[in-house]
């Protein structure tokens, strides 16, 4: 008799079989099989999630780099004067090139955008590249194809685009991060969008954090459990589930329209009231703050509720007032949780597009936002706009911008986590 059989006979090994109705049918084999089946099911769900995530990253990365065929309208080499390549020429020489190649109307328009006298050599060089050389990407291929099918692509370029050069291009590069928006995919960048996103987030945090934490403290520590407060609580919970576009409409009605003098800055004399427009960073930040408030309040309440009551009792027992108890014990101990709540809320706000579209995010601006009253665009709005363009190249740009957005989210979260860990080790 092997071990298992001995165990299976168990306590009845002495041969006295108990009455049928009192016997245990433990059926361990079946119970373990059920457990294993569930374990496999849970593993499968995890695997599905990971596969989906990898697929997403793959499609983005593959699009963000690859071979491109570039055609220049004017060969930059032909613009060289006395062997000096075009990028090293003086501002005057570059202006001469511009005048030679562009119509007087175009020149006048450029002058009225920003006087040539006020432009630096780099700016004029950029104009020469944009307007005269005009490199055009006529075709692009994703990364995998570029690596595996290089021969076929070369043949295709030679037959279809005889004037084009084939080169490898990473759409995500330093120029992409530093350039403003442009209608030409090879020149377009995300600087304005990154700055717009950062400005918006700063305003969102500045408004939502104190208001959200304040409301959470009030609801957790001060209110009594009566029907008014239960209704308020229920409403906050429901607001967290309201589609974000509804918040966009709210923001449009309140911040863009009603509070226009405030959000456009004309109240402070920053712009001419006749041209004031409430579609500014301030409006966007306030709208996103409204959007994340319920989320922030609920999670901050959760964090405050998790502070053990024994701490409050100890504090009161020593003759502390309610405020001293909250300030010295409840808040410091809830802070890591509150910061986690803030991280989650900010991540949500950074990625929001719909409400910004409703309140009128600019899809095409080249000027950096320089304050809360600027017109602006944000990364997700920029991505959304690029993906809806007909040219393939803009989708490469969108892929690169998605990587930038992801990197920004990760670094925001990392900063918040560092902050949280710092506060949890306060003593």
């Amino acid at each position: 008799m092997n071990n298992r059989q001995v165990w299976a006979r168990g306590q009845h090994g002495r041969g006295e079989e108990p009455a049928d109705e009192e016997r245990f049918e433990s059926d361990l084999g079946r119970r373990h099989r059920t457990g294993r089946a569930w374990r496999i099911a849970f593993q499968a769900s995890t695997v599905i999630g990971i596969v989906a995530l990898i697929a997403l990253l793959y499609t983005i990365v593959v699009k963000s780099a690859g071979l491109v065929a570039v055609e220049n309208q004017v060969d930059p080499a032909s613009l060289a004067v006395d062997g000096v390549p075009v990028q090293d020429q003086s501002k005057e020489q570059l202006l001469a090139i511009l005048e030679e190649h562009l119509s007087t109307g175009t020149m006048r328009r450029l002058e009225s955008e920003k006087p040539f006298a006020g432009r630096s050599q780099e700016e004029v060089y950029q104009l020469v590249l944009d307007r005269v050389v005009e490199p055009m990407i006529v075709a692009s291929w994703p990364l995998t194809e570029s690596q595996l099918n290089r021969k076929a692509i070369e043949a295709e370029v030679a037959s279809d685009y005889p004037n084009a050069q084939l080169q490898f291009r990473s759409w995500l590069n330093a120029d992409f991060l530093l350039n403003p928006q442009s209608s030409q995919p090879e020149l377009a960048g995300v600087r304005t969008a990154i700055l717009g996103s950062l400005w918006t987030i700063v305003i969102t945090i500045a408004v939502a954090f104190p208001v959200g934490v304040g409301a959470a403290i009030y609801l957790e520590e001060y209110t009594r459990n009566n029907w008014v407060n239960r209704i308020i609580q229920t409403n906050i919970n429901n607001l967290a589930g309201v589609p974000s576009i509804i918040y966009g409409m709210l923001g449009l009605a309140i911040f863009v329209r009603m509070l226009e003098p405030l959000t456009s800055g004309s109240l402070f004399g920053l712009v001419d009231p006749t041209t004031a427009n409430g579609r500014t960073i301030l409006s966007a930040g306030l709208t996103l703050a409204l959007l994340i408030l319920p989320l922030l309040i609920i999670n901050a309440q959760e964090a405050i509720r998790a502070v053990p009551n024994s701490l409050r009792q100890a504090s009161y027992g020593l003759g502390a007032t309610k405020w001293q108890t909250i300030w010295h014990h409840v808040l410091p101990n809830a802070l890591p949780g509150i910061l986690t709540a803030t991280i989650l809320a900010i991540s949500r706000a950074v990625g929001e597009t719909a409400p910004l579209v409703v309140i009128g995010v600019s899809t095409y601006i080249v000027a950096d936002p320089n304050g809360p009253f600027s017109k602006f665009t944000t990364l997700p709005a920029q991505i959304y706009q690029w993906t809806s363009r007909p040219q393939d190249e803009f989708r490469n740009l969108a892929a690169a911008a998605i990587i930038v957005l992801l990197a920004m989210l990760v670094s925001l979260n990392a900063a918040a986590i560092l902050l949280r860990n710092r506060y949890s080790r306060r003593w």
Binding site: A314, L318, G319, W427
Partner: protein, 281 residues
């Protein structure tokens, strides 16, 4: 005793044997006293008309079976019940003849003058030093804080164990040390009365003994009221004992109150005798 069960072996301190039962009514000998105190939680009456004068600089133990309201009585002394939504009281709690529930009395001040030590050690998640100093600081202590911390820790018999790690976390201490730290924290705000709600129930026997010794020390300067489930503990440390039970409507009532020696040796009430001999509870 017509019981087949052995009575609990009780040792009392003999010098208290002759002390007469305290009288009801304001008297300089009493640190705090309740008059017809009833506490309600919502519609439920938790304790009924309790009149309990507590002698100054002595240890008074509140004993009784679970749910008999002894903790509620204790928390009524320093108005901790105010923090429970729906709790209200009737009757009076007199501290030096002054009703602590009078409208002009600030419960925050009451809680400073009547300190409290809880069942589970609950030091703040701060340094040992900060645990002792915090209460004094928020109450506006103007003296030398280092001296106060040392004095309080010495009084709580903890100084020798922690004097070289005052800046370390209080949570690193053992349970018994944490409880003595909680006592030091209370002493630091200079209360007149210290309430202890089953202070040893989460501790091992050795830590319990240390706390009990400490309580006897502290009774020279402070009035101590202790709730305990442990009758031997009540007998060991207390000068007076109050025995509570629930009545027919489940409200706690005071059955018997007297010097510990007398209550444990010659109880007047049959129910007290049944309880202390271990027949129920």
């Amino acid at each position: 005793m017509s019981s087949d069960r052995q009575p609990v072996r009780i040792t009392t301190r003999p010098h208290l044997a002759g002390v007469p039962a305290p009288e009801i009514g304001h008297n300089g000998n009493y640190a705090i006293e309740t008059h017809d105190l009833s506490v309600y939680y919502g519609g439920f009456q938790a304790i009924r008309e309790i009149s309990l004068p507590v002698r100054r600089r002595q240890i008074t133990a509140l004993i009784g079976p679970s749910g008999c309201g002894k903790s509620t009585v204790l928390r009524a002394f320093n108005r901790m019940n105010d923090l429970i939504p729906g709790a209200r009281i009737e009757g009076q709690v007199l501290l030096h003849g002054q009703n602590v529930y009078a409208p002009e009395v600030d419960p925050v001040e009451v809680r400073r003058r009547i300190g409290m030590v809880f069942q589970k050690p609950n030091p703040f998640p701060k340094t040992i030093y900060e645990n002792v100093a915090w209460g004094a600081r928020i109450n506006g202590y103007r003296g030398n804080m280092d001296d106060l911390v040392e004095r309080s820790l010495r009084q709580a018999a903890l100084w020798d164990e922690v004097h070289d790690k005052l800046q370390e976390s209080a949570l690193a201490l053992s349970g018994g040390q944490q409880q003595r730290l909680c006592i030091a924290r209370v002493i630091a705000v200079k209360p007149e009365i210290i309430l202890m709600d089953e202070p040893c129930s989460a501790l091992d026997p050795i830590a319990t003994l240390k706390i009990e010794d400490l309580m006897r020390e502290l009774a020279r300067d402070y009035t101590i009221i202790i709730v305990t489930h442990n009758m031997q503990q009540a007998a060991r440390v207390s000068d007076h004992t109050a025995f509570f039970m629930i009545d027919q409507e489940r409200a706690g009532t005071l059955i018997e109150y007297g010097p510990t020696t007398q209550l444990f040796t010659t109880p007047h009430d049959k129910r007290t005798e049944d309880y202390i001999t271990g027949r129920f509870g």
